[in-house]
């Protein structure tokens, strides 16, 4: 795939007649990051050059142009989650948004409340923020998830205490794509008088979100997960009932004092446009991705046995498949499919050799977690690419299974768990 040579028509383009091999390598890692949509880049460009002003310079045309761009973007971001533009704070990305939401609320209300609830499958930046707060003396409850990756609503209900300041539960998991029951969580939190924060980096633009209907008080957005630029994100902070925060970054008092620093105008504009495009195209795009994912999954399972889908099959975003290929090690498999860019574990931790903590939390055995790949399908994925990927993945798995002592044992009916494996 070469983004530079694609235009907006690519979303619906079909395989060219007579061309069976798509451009290689094929990008299938849309949960790690997405290419910036050329339409987004186009809108950003003038803000790099002729409209380069500092949006906080209130006294001249350069500043006003930049400010107008930022404020239009703010409205576009607000619109996709049905919020008011005054409730949107720009940040450097979802990681900062999550840090700001959790640490900010915890610090502001620390005199009265000292308890935070989250789940074990959150993104690392949520877990790390919570661990940091534990070091400061806060108490954190890490809720387990069920085998399908979803939380048990009753477990959440029971975990809330009068000391609970904030519940932080992600909308969509980055590894397995499952969608948490946001509206139910929101209801419980609102009734208990506890703030509800959701990391929606993987959800915005993929599933409809309505902060009022879902009683969401804080919501994190990422630019580069929705075909916008890297280095920009947003945090929605509810005004009624009002959520208060202690800032993480102090200075010029930009973003209503919640987040100081010169706003990167082109990036803000890019995020706004990315939201506007996603909002407009979400319905049709979700249908298209659902078809492609099904085509991928059906193609694989038609030719391979012992392939398991991780995470709930129903409550998941279209465009994410997390598959375990029994008896084939994930890293070895990735080397066999060099033309396909997929991920084993989440991108942030993919340099480490530990199996995914998300899959482990679902109760997936360690040995099975080692055999997992995340396949991310997105806006520029074509049917032709899916077919090519399925074919190559199947070939690689078949070859590696032929080389796998575990596959051999399984075929011979030996229970691998019955073997006394040496630790090393």
């Amino acid at each position: 795939m070469n983004i530079a040579n694609q235009n907006q028509k690519t979303a619906t383009k079909d395989a060219l007649p007579g061309a069976n091999v798509p451009k290689l390598p094929i990008y299938l890692d849309y949960q790690a990051t997405t290419p910036c949509d050329p339409r987004v880049v186009e809108v950003m460009l003038p803000y790099f050059t002729e409209k380069f002003g500092n949006p906080h310079s209130r006294n001249h045309q350069y500043g006003w142009d930049a400010e107008a761009g930022v404020e239009k973007a703010r409205a576009q971001v607000a619109s996709i989650i049905k919020a008011d533009e005054k409730e949107i704070i720009f940040t450097s990305g979802a990681t900062e948004s999550n840090n700001l939401a959790i640490k900010g609320v915890a610090h502001f209300y620390k005199d009265r409340k000292n308890h935070i609830i989250t789940t074990v499958t959150e993104h690392k930046c949520v877990l790390d923020s919570c661990r940091h707060l534990e070091l400061e003396g806060f108490e954190v409850s890490y809720l387990p998830v069920q085998q399908n990756g979803l939380i048990d609503i009753e477990v959440l209900r029971k975990a809330i205490t009068p000391k609970t300041a904030i519940v932080s539960i992600m909308a969509v998991n980055n590894e397995i794509g499952v969608i948490q029951p946001l509206a139910e969580i929101g209801n419980i939190c609102r009734a208990a008088g506890v703030f509800f924060h959701t990391d929606a980096a993987q959800a915005v633009g993929k599933i409809p979100i309505d902060v009022d209907a879902m009683n969401i008080d804080l919501l994190s957005i990422s630019g580069h997960k929705i075909y916008g630029p890297k280095g920009i994100g947003a945090l929605y902070v509810r005004r009624k009932p009002r959520v208060r925060l202690e800032a993480l970054i102090h200075g010029g008092g930009q973003e209503r004092g919640f987040r100081s620093g010169t706003l990167p105008t082109p990036l803000c504009v890019g995020l706004g446009e990315a939201c506007a495009i996603a909002e407009k195209e979400m319905g049709a795009e979700a249908e298209r991705l659902k078809k492609l994912s099904k085509r991928f999954y059906d193609g694989i399972t038609a030719k391979l046995s012992e392939v398991y889908l991780n995470g709930d099959a129903e409550h998941r975003i279209p465009g994410n498949l997390n598959l375990s290929f029994a008896h084939v090690e994930g890293e070895g498999l990735m080397m066999g499919i060099k033309d396909l860019c997929v991920s084993s574990g989440s991108a942030c931790t993919s340099a480490s050799l530990e199996p995914s903590y998300v899959l482990r939390a679902l109760g997936v055995e360690v040995e099975m977690a080692h055999t997992s790949l995340r396949i991310g399908i997105g806006r520029f994925t074509t049917e032709q690419e899916v077919d090519y990927a399925v074919e190559h993945l199947v070939q690689a798995v078949l070859r590696l299974r032929e080389m796998s002592p575990l596959w051999e044992m399984a075929q011979a009916g030996i229970d691998i768990k019955s073997i006394q494996w040496a630790e090393h």
Binding site: D29, T49, G231
Partner: protein, 380 residues
């Protein structure tokens, strides 16, 4: 559309074509630099390449660069790393140092009337501190352009066991900066002041020193700063750093600034040029003349198509006297009428001539009109 003359380079600089080219190319990359596949490695290569360039700009080593979302975050990150040391900052620091410093109960070092930090007073505060301190001083002031005696301060502070952070946001690309010659432990840089993009900056370490992260998660930037790297902006920062390192236009810009000041003096009106007796950045002049408020002057000049600023950009939306000029010991009226002209590589002598022509018109405009304008602003 004629967008007029831009003379507000200390607020932000236009993007250099080389930075735009690097960003356009990087924006078309797909990968997340943490991904191990081909797309990820290509994104990583952009980041690594830029890291080398940013490093070279200030004579540091590549692993000691932590990219942040800008100078403000880098300053906050540095101050967050003081590990309970008593904090000492100067009175003329940027808000992104002063704000967190006030929250942390910092001691404030005085500055002299020429805009230079009072080294003797800072030394005295170091002696008075209950424990070895954390000192944060800027290399060049954003409003006056006055270059601070950072190497001297670092030497004194180090001899008293202190750790030193320096905000070099306004200095890079305008004078040679070497983190080792300065002898500081932490150095803040911002890309958009040197023709890189907004939304990216860096905290540079003088050695293998700890950083207490503000934004956590994901393990990026050697665990010093979580979050997917802003690849395109980092690429733009790298390209801008490469060009800025040459300091190519410094002499020409200095000549323009000096010409501007000479012509201003030539009007024969009461005029104060702040920090003129100290070493200053070649591109900056900050001055007050007459009774008009800075707001009036900035707006009148904008109508004439000239973009300048009163005080620093972050607070220029608010009508209040510059804290820098006040700290230098000037009265509120003088501090409230100070304006800043800051130049860059696109400015020419014709721009200076136009500024002087506009300035002359503004000065000649009837008192009644400027009073009315002043009244409108104070009512707003």
């Amino acid at each position: 559309m004629n967008r007029g003359i831009y003379m507000d380079w200390n607020a932000t600089a236009p993007l250099r074509p080389s930075a735009l080219a690097a960003m356009s190319a990087a924006l078309q990359e797909v990968g997340n630099p943490s991904s191990v596949h081909a797309f990820g490695r290509r994104a990583r290569a952009w980041v690594d390449h830029a890291r080398e360039a940013v490093t070279a700009l200030v004579g540091a080593k590549a692993p000691l660069v932590t990219f942040t979302s800008g100078g403000t975050e880098a300053n906050n990150l540095a101050l967050n790393t003081r590990f309970n040391r008593p904090l000492i900052v100067s009175a003329i620091e940027h808000e992104s140092v002063l704000r967190p410093a006030r929250l942390a109960g910092a001691q404030i070092a005085r500055v002299g009337r020429n805009g230079e930090i009072d080294v003797a007073h800072l030394s005295h505060l170091l002696d008075k501190a209950a424990a070895p301190a954390f000192v944060s001083v800027m290399l060049a002031n954003n409003e006056t352009g006055v270059i601070q005696p950072v190497a001297e301060i670092a030497q004194i502070a180090k001899s008293k066991g202190a750790v030193v952070h320096c905000d070099a946001t306004q200095a890079i690309g305008r004078l040679a900066v070497d983190i080792n010659e300065l002898g500081v432990d932490y150095l803040t840089l911002s890309a958009h002041k040197i023709g890189g993009p907004q939304g990216i900056g860096a905290l540079i370490l003088g050695g293998e020193l700890p950083v207490e992260p503000l934004v956590q998660g994901g393990g990026q930037e050697r665990n010093r700063r979580g979050g997917t790297e802003n690849v395109a902006a980092i690429a733009g920062f790298g390209a801008a750093a490469q060009e800025a390192a040459t300091l190519a236009d410094t002499d020409r810009i200095a000549a323009l600034r000096d010409l501007l000041e000479e012509k201003l003096i030539g009007f024969g009106l009461p005029l104060t040029i702040f920090g003129r007796s100290a070493a200053r950045l070649a591109n900056t002049t900050c001055f007050a003349s007459g009774t008009k408020t800075a707001e009036t002057l900035v707006m009148a000049l904008d109508l004439a198509g000239i973009a300048i600023s009163a005080g620093s950009a972050c607070s220029s939306g608010k009508v209040r006297p510059s804290h820098v000029i006040s700290a230098m010991g000037f009265d509120a009226a003088t501090a409230g009428s100070a304006i800043r002209v800051s130049l860059g590589w696109q400015n020419s002598q014709a721009d200076i001539d136009q500024f002087i022509a506009a300035w002359s018109r503004v000065q000649r405009a009837g008192l009644a009109r400027s009073d009315a304008a002043d009244a409108r602003i104070s009512a707003a």
